[in-house]
């Protein structure tokens, strides 16, 4: 085949086929189109205003490594006027986080962004390794997900940022749309395609990569020579999600636009008014102050279960009842430091930003 010209600039030679559109384009146009689509996503949603302090949820994996690079690039190019931070969560999984935290530390230097690392151990008194040794490998991702979400918010509040951006990409979102339909999780189905979510008084979280294909994120990292760790977590996700993921990959292979088409579908419907009315109101957790739909937030419930040796308490209703039946939580129960989402530093959690500027 003769060399083809780039479908976008019509000048340079096309060197890649865009996974998202199938267009054959040159390298520069790929960078341009990838970055511009993210910029469009950001501006269309009005995500930021000048002076915002924004934390990038950095795991050292491909998504957040590319996100840090693109956020820095766009912030400079379009003068968003953002103050950017890196925020990392250490789940305490041996051999998995250690390497990727090195990547994050390197990013901190390259991009000159302050970095905060917050560990499950320091916040909850439990590492994922310890949790898995108690609950086994069945519901571990439930613990991990709940704990990570709250840890990110707490880390952000320690950094005084208004906003956390995470590396969730289009594939993740499409998969979540399918999962929520199949599990009947109406509340999350309504939320999962939103670019930005904000609880009552928590920090805003958004997903600038919500329309970016995973394959293109890898491609971007490859051409920009960004290095990241692609170690798989040793505690792999649940089987059901595994099925959904394999299915999505098949759909993408059959027709690459499927990922965007699923997200479009998710954005094209909303939970019916009358059903929304019956959903639980948000309140704050009586024990730790974090937002919650019950008296106790999920993290506190899970933690109490762990501490009292009834680990599945928050996972099934039956186990929760058993926990309640055994009486109130003991006085000396280890709990999560009280959460104060405000502009004043959280006294329970000393801010120790790892020295970027010294």
């Amino acid at each position: 085949m003769p060399p083809r010209n780039c479908a976008l600039c019509h000048e340079a030679r096309a060197i890649l086929k865009r996974p998202k559109t199938g267009q054959q384009i040159c390298r520069d146009c790929f960078f341009w189109v990838f970055e511009t689509e993210v910029h469009n996503t950001i501006t269309e949603a009005g995500l930021f205003k000048p002076g915002d302090r924004v934390a990038i949820g950095a795991s050292g994996g491909k998504d957040s490594t590319v996100l840090a690079h693109v956020m820095k690039t766009l912030n400079d190019r379009y003068q968003y006027g953002l103050e950017l931070f890196l925020l990392s969560i250490d789940e305490g999984i041996t051999g998995y986080r250690d390497d990727s935290l090195e990547t994050v530390k390197r990013n901190q230097q390259q991009y000159d962004m302050p970095l905060k690392i917050l560990s499950y151990d320091e916040l909850y008194g439990w590492t994922m390794d310890a949790i898995v040794s108690q609950v086994g490998k069945r519901n571990n991702c439930t613990f991990c997900g709940v704990f990570r979400r709250q840890a990110l918010d707490r880390g952000a509040s320690a950094l005084h940022v208004d906003h956390i951006v995470t590396g969730h990409n289009a594939d993740d979102i499409a998969e979540t749309v399918l999962m929520n339909i199949m599990r009947g999780d109406i509340a999350r189905l309504g939320r999962c395609t939103m670019i930005c979510t904000q609880g009552e008084d928590t920090i805003k979280r958004s997903k600038p990569f919500k329309y970016a294909y995973e394959k293109e994120i890898v491609m971007y990292a490859y051409f920009k020579k960004l290095d990241y760790f692609s170690t798989e977590c040793i505690y792999s996700p649940d089987a059901y999600r595994g099925h959904a993921r394999a299915f999505l990959k098949d759909l993408e292979a059959a027709r690459p636009s499927a990922i965007i088409d699923i997200i479009h579908s998710g954005e094209a419907f909303e939970v019916k008014e009358e059903i929304r009315a019956t959903q639980k109101q948000q309140q704050t957790c009586k024990r730790c102050g974090y937002m919650s739909s019950n008296d106790l937030c999920k993290a506190c419930t899970l933690l109490e279960g762990l501490e009292r040796g009834i680990a599945n308490a928050a996972i099934t209703d039956r186990a929760r009842k058993k926990l309640d039946a055994e009486g109130p939580a003991p006085e000396n129960l280890r709990t999560i430091p009280f959460y104060q989402p405000s502009s004043t530093p959280n006294p329970a959690l000393p801010v120790t930003i790892e020295g970027a500027h010294n």
Binding site: M182, P237, S257
Partner: protein, 496 residues
């Protein structure tokens, strides 16, 4: 995120297959031994039939009268006749049996017990019941024609009219003329090589048969998924128009709970989220021009024609359908599998295999999918009705598409200078139909017949052109404009 599992924030794990309760006793009569397990509950054979009949009636009868009127004692008085869409598959075989027993042969065992003989349910509901079968075998070389078998099966039921159609009728102006007593046209074509989908007239000199037009259309589609979903959509529209032609106010389809779940997920995967509601139940108003919904409401008059599409087996799973057919001794012809390797790359087929597999380990999945979809509503305004599939178009989808996936570096760049800028089909299509016609794959659809070649200008189905002439579409005015222009300039043209 690197954990490869970034979106976990879940507390709801899927319930795995549960063993049914230890007892083998039927949960309904509590006396007989159970014969079938329906989602963890055991039923005996005697209790199974009333259960399925109840589910069938519950999904259909509240929607028979034009206005749903509260208490279920009111007589069922539909505006018109009934059309049964029949595919030969398990679901539609059970559907046909139920329709026949409940509304044609008036089988006593299917009647609700309460109310006695005087109960209005004991009167015939629809004056005329027709069964329509659309044969697709002419698309694929060597595929068996099932029409005679279907005709024979329908003939076993007295009082049913049989209407056999062929898929190429969608491109047949004489079929349209018969069904609508107005001349049909297939003179409008679309250029499938450009995302804008420019319209152009198909010269009448290239007279091809309806089958040739259909096969060229299918062969020119970009993916296997496009081909398969186009065939399904053509069948749906043929059924709708046939319902109109037979004076039917209701069209019933044999989608079971399982197949409804498949079509919902497959629809979502093809960008049909805005039409989730229609996928479950819809009402089609053929006289409404494809224009914004706000203007449409005003024209909703009393005598307006409409067809209500209902899936009365939407609460009955695949397994229950199979039990019904087996215990009733029904002959299930089965649907002929298309002799086409493209099915492996078809999103509809992939979804079916996925859901069927999942149903084995997680039996509540299919009902959860359907239940979830009843809880959502389309978001935002509709900007019109899709000229291909007759479903509402969400406003702003073209802008959305171009913002999310940039396809050119400067505005207007997409339009090649050489291409004549004509009216475009894109803005008259729903998201899914536009995707069907334009979205490509590095694995193009394998040909279904090597003798059919792609074409850059393909004729559109016979229901598309009338929607443009009604609207005094640009297309006509543009052709006029060309002539007018010549009139203006011709005095300045030199003889060659």
């Amino acid at each position: 995120m690197s954990c490869g599992n970034p979106t976990v924030e879940t507390d709801a794990l899927m319930p795995r297959k549960k063993k049914y309760d230890k007892t083998n006793e039927c949960v309904r009569c509590k006396t007989s031994l159970g014969n079938i397990v329906i989602r963890h509950a055991v039923y005996c054979k005697e209790c199974f039939f009333p259960l399925v009949t109840f589910k069938f009636r519950r999904a259909l009868e509240p929607f028979v009268n034009a206005k749903p009127d509260g208490p279920r004692r009111t007589a069922l008085k539909p505006k018109g006749n009934l059309l049964v869409g029949f595919s030969g598959g398990l679901g539609s075989t059970v559907l046909l049996d139920l329709v026949y027993r409940c509304y044609v042969s008036m089988d006593k065992s299917t009647m609700p017990a309460e109310g006695g003989k005087q109960h209005p349910r004991h009167e015939r509901v629809w004056k005329k019941v027709s069964v329509c079968y659309v044969e697709v075998c002419d698309i694929f070389p060597g595929m068996k024609d099932r029409t005679p078998e279907v005709a024979q099966l329908v003939a076993q039921h007295d009082g049913l009219e049989f209407i056999p159609l062929r898929i190429q009728d969608a491109f047949d102006s004489s079929w349209w003329a018969r069904a609508h007593s107005s001349p049909g046209r297939i003179d409008l074509g679309v250029d499938l090589t450009n995302e804008e989908l420019f319209l152009n007239s198909v010269p009448s000199s290239t007279s091809s048969t309806p089958l040739e037009s259909l096969r060229t259309f299918l062969a020119s589609l970009p993916t296997a998924t496009a081909m398969s979903s186009t065939i399904n959509s053509l069948i749906r529209l043929l059924l709708l128009h046939t319902a109109l032609d037979t004076g039917s106010s209701h069209l019933v389809l044999g989608s079971s709970l399982t197949s409804l779940a498949v079509s919902l997920i497959s629809g979502v995967s093809q960008g049909r989220g805005f039409n989730v509601k229609e996928e479950m139940q819809e009402e089609w108003f053929p006289d409404r021009a494809p224009e914004p919904s706000s203007q449409r409401e005003k024209r909703t008059g009393k005598g307006e024609r409409s067809v209500r599409v209902i899936r009365p087996l939407r609460d009955v799973g695949r397994k229950e359908c199979a039990a019904w057919a087996w215990w009733s001794g029904l002959r299930v012809l089965g649907r002929e599998t298309w002799p086409w390797p493209g099915l492996k790359q078809d999103i509809g087929t992939l979804t079916k295999n996925f859901i069927f597999g999942l149903e084995k380990d997680y039996p509540s999945t299919v009902s959860t999918i359907v239940r979830t979809c009843t809880k959502v509503a389309p978001k935002g305004e509709a900007s019109g009705i899709c000229v291909l599939c007759a479903r509402p178009i969400q406003a702003g989808i073209q802008e959305w598409k171009s913002r999310i996936s940039i396809r050119s570096r400067s505005p207007g760049d997409a339009i090649d200078e050489k291409t004549p800028v004509g009216p475009s089909l894109a803005s008259h299509l729903c998201y899914a139909c536009h995707t069907t016609l334009t979205s490509t794959s590095s694995r193009p659809a394998p040909p279904f017949d090597a003798t059919v070649t792609k074409s850059s200008l393909v004729a559109l189905p016979v229901w598309v052109p009338p929607q443009f002439s009604e609207k005094e579409e640009l297309f006509r005015t543009q052709k006029m404009g060309q002539e007018k222009m010549r009139n203006v300039v011709q005095d300045f043209l030199l003889d060659e």
